[in-house]
């Protein structure tokens, strides 16, 4: 091992899209680290740059219009940005696998499940057709699909949404990747199915020792699943902390807003769910100062004119806010009560 158990480190990543409307700074200087076996949650509202960050790691950003402008992506000691596209393909699906949001559209409707599952291991593990098929059946059983032997020859439309997401997971894990990126794996599913899928990911992760990045816009989803969380807004990391600490003592007004909007069955039954007022900004035309300022309940004059600093609360906890320490102190005193 050339590194201290770090499987992925992203440093100062910037991914921009050159559009007619100007440069969309979808991801604008994010950094994080993921240790082997850890689970990282990436949380943020729609358009905050969660998907683009992770597609960048896989080098799946379409160029043009997209472009990774700056930053380091080091996967297991390998500088991903320096690799040839052929070498990137050897990592995709083999060492880093991805599950996408919408299982209805992420599987190819024209190909049998068997084909879509077996092609991965034929490609990466050199399986023969027969081996690949047996392996695929094993994977389907692993993700809880009964009579996998028969159902493997179905087409995606013959499965329900939850079942399709199970197939996606089977596909993603079939080469036993070191890193699994799950991009809102449950957003498109019913609530009960959501819980099952999350449970499955958690269980498989524990069994296979995979590191996981779990993307979601729902803090409730990451609570029981992750070791640490980064909160994104307008292409920037607004807060980053171990999960427990982030929930207990958030140091950023945006995080506090997100936390308030998580449904809490114990306390707020029947109460209308809180929502952060306003809409996420247009990242092609950001005003100077803090991008959250127009919606922030704690905003002061300086927020409109000066970009906030990335304040270190402690070694593992950072917050992008002019008043990070104050917000943190408030959170602490609330906990004490």
């Amino acid at each position: 091992m050339t590194n201290d158990g770090t499987i992925l480190s992203v440093d100062g990543l910037k991914t921009y899209f050159h559009t007619e409307d100007g440069v969309v700074k979808a991801v604008d200087g994010i950094s994080f680290e993921l240790k082997k076996g850890e689970t990282l949650g990436i949380v943020g509202e729609s358009g905050s740059g969660k998907s683009v960050s992770n597609l960048s790691i896989m080098r799946l950003i379409q160029e043009p219009p997209g472009e990774i402008v700056d930053g380091k992506i080091i996967f297991d000691g390998i500088d991903v940005r320096a690799l040839s596209i052929d070498d990137v393909r050897k990592i995709r699906g083999r060492r880093i696998a991805m599950i996408f949001q919408d299982p209805m559209t992420s599987l190819n409707p024209f190909l049998k499940i068997s084909k879509q599952l077996t092609e991965v291991t034929v490609l990466h593990l050199g399986h023969t057709k027969q081996q690949a098929r047996e392996h695929a059946i094993k994977m389907l059983k692993l993700v809880g699909i009964s009579d996998a032997e028969q159902r493997i020859d179905s087409y995606p439309h013959e499965f329900s949404g939850g079942m399709r997401q199970r197939v996606m997971i089977a596909m993603a894990l079939s080469c036993d990747p070191e890193l699994l990126i799950a991009d809102e794996p449950t957003t498109a599913l019913d609530v009960t199915i959501q819980a099952q899928i999350l449970e499955l990911i958690k269980d498989l992760k524990a069994r296979m020792g995979t590191s996981v990045i779990l993307i979601t816009h729902d803090l409730g989803v990451v609570a029981g699943m992750t070791d640490k969380i980064i909160v994104m807004y307008a292409g920037k990391v607004f807060e980053q902390a171990p999960t427990r600490e982030l929930f207990a003592t958030p140091a950023n007004p945006y995080t506090k807003g997100l936390l308030k909007s998580v449904p809490d069955p114990a306390h707020e039954q029947g109460k209308e769910l809180y929502q952060i007022p306003g809409l996420p900004p247009d990242v092609a035309h950001l005003p100077p100062g803090c991008p959250f300022a127009p919606r922030c309940s704690r905003v002061e004059d300086i927020c409109h004119s000066e970009f906030p600093p990335f304040v270190e609360i402690n070694e593992d906890h950072h917050s992008l806010c002019h008043f990070a320490n104050d917000v943190y102190a408030e959170s602490k005193s609330e906990v004490a009560k």
């Binding site: 052929d86 699906g93 083999r94 696998a97 092609e119 490609l123 996606m168 596909m171």
Partner: protein, 305 residues
């Protein structure tokens, strides 16, 4: 599936009879008739001929007689080409149209699919702009203009190819190109649009995320979805091409079905008109059926019962 095909085949016959009836009605409603075109016949002679063809009977009797023959597949004899049955005339002239049509179709498919796919994969490249401009041109230049231009260039300036008339491979080249141009252009545009749409879809992103190379992504994952919009166009197009294209056959003096049909209309040769119309409508319906069956094979979500 089988019962679907049988049902569709069974519908073809009444549909064709309906088309024939409507055509017959139109021919009858239009002023004039076969005899009005000819040099005026002595009244006695015309009366004789009318009697022979049953034209002296009331229209419903005529219609009934005609239909009972047609149902048995007999369209009678041509009025113009005395003593030749309509069926025989169609059989004699169809091969010319079929050869040119089929070759034109294959050429259009080869050019259209290739150009469309490459243009989509290299979106906004020189090739994309070039081929799509050419396609625009192909769509906007009518073949009665394109045909003569090609003849001018290749026959009268370069002396490379004969300007028309049937006979040998070289005589086919220009008509086939003329015929295929508009279809190639249309197929190229459909293919490009279809492929672009598919290449943006989620499942293509999944395929890339698996580590597949672009060739596999294209040939295994993208091509089917991209071709579906093309498919629905190619069925009726093939029928139209096989049946002969009036203008191209006229320009290149090819004795195909299109030419015969024009003659029949000008001559008011009622049996021949009805025969060709019935034949064409059946052909189009059969090709549409083939397209629908092909859909079923291409897209597993479509099921016919």
């Amino acid at each position: 599936m089988l019962s679907f095909i049988i049902r569709r085949l069974l519908i073809i016959i009444p549909m064709a009879l309906l088309v024939v009836t409507l055509t017959w009605g139109l021919v009858r409603i239009a002023p004039g008739n076969f005899y009005s075109a000819e040099k005026k016949l002595p009244p006695a002679v015309e009366a004789n001929i009318r009697k022979k063809y049953g034209l002296d009977k009331p229209w419903y009797t005529q219609y009934g007689m005609m239909m009972s023959n047609i149902v048995r597949g007999d369209f009678g004899d041509s009025l113009k080409y005395q003593g030749q049955s309509v069926n025989e005339i169609i059989r004699r002239h169809l091969p010319y149209s079929a050869v040119i049509g089929l070759l034109g179709y294959l050429l259009a498919l080869a050019i259209g699919l290739t150009a469309g796919t490459v243009a989509a994969l290299k979106q906004n490249s020189g090739f994309d702009y070039g081929s799509m401009s050419l396609a625009m041109l192909g769509l906007s230049v009518p073949n009665f203009v394109l045909g003569p231009i090609l003849v001018l260039i290749f026959s009268f300036w370069l002396y490379l190819l004969p300007p028309g008339r049937w006979g040998g491979f070289s005589g086919i080249v220009l008509p086939v190109i003329t015929l295929s141009a508009i279809y190639a252009a249309y197929i190229a545009r459909l293919t490009r649009a279809g492929m672009l749409e598919v290449m943006r879809s989620d499942y293509i992103r999944t395929a890339r995320a698996k580590g597949l190379d672009e060739k596999t992504v294209l040939l295994r994952h993208a091509i089917r979805g991209g071709l579906i919009p093309v498919l629905s166009f190619t069925g009726p197009a093939l029928a139209a091409l096989l049946a002969g294209t009036v203008v191209v056959e006229k320009v290149f003096a090819i004795p195909g079905l299109g030419n015969i049909f024009i003659q029949a209309v000008l001559n008011r040769d009622e049996p021949l008109i009805l025969g060709v119309v019935a034949f064409l409508s059946i052909l189009i319906m059969i090709f549409n059926l083939i397209v629908d069956i092909a859909y079923g094979f291409l897209d597993p979500r479509i099921r016919y019962e």
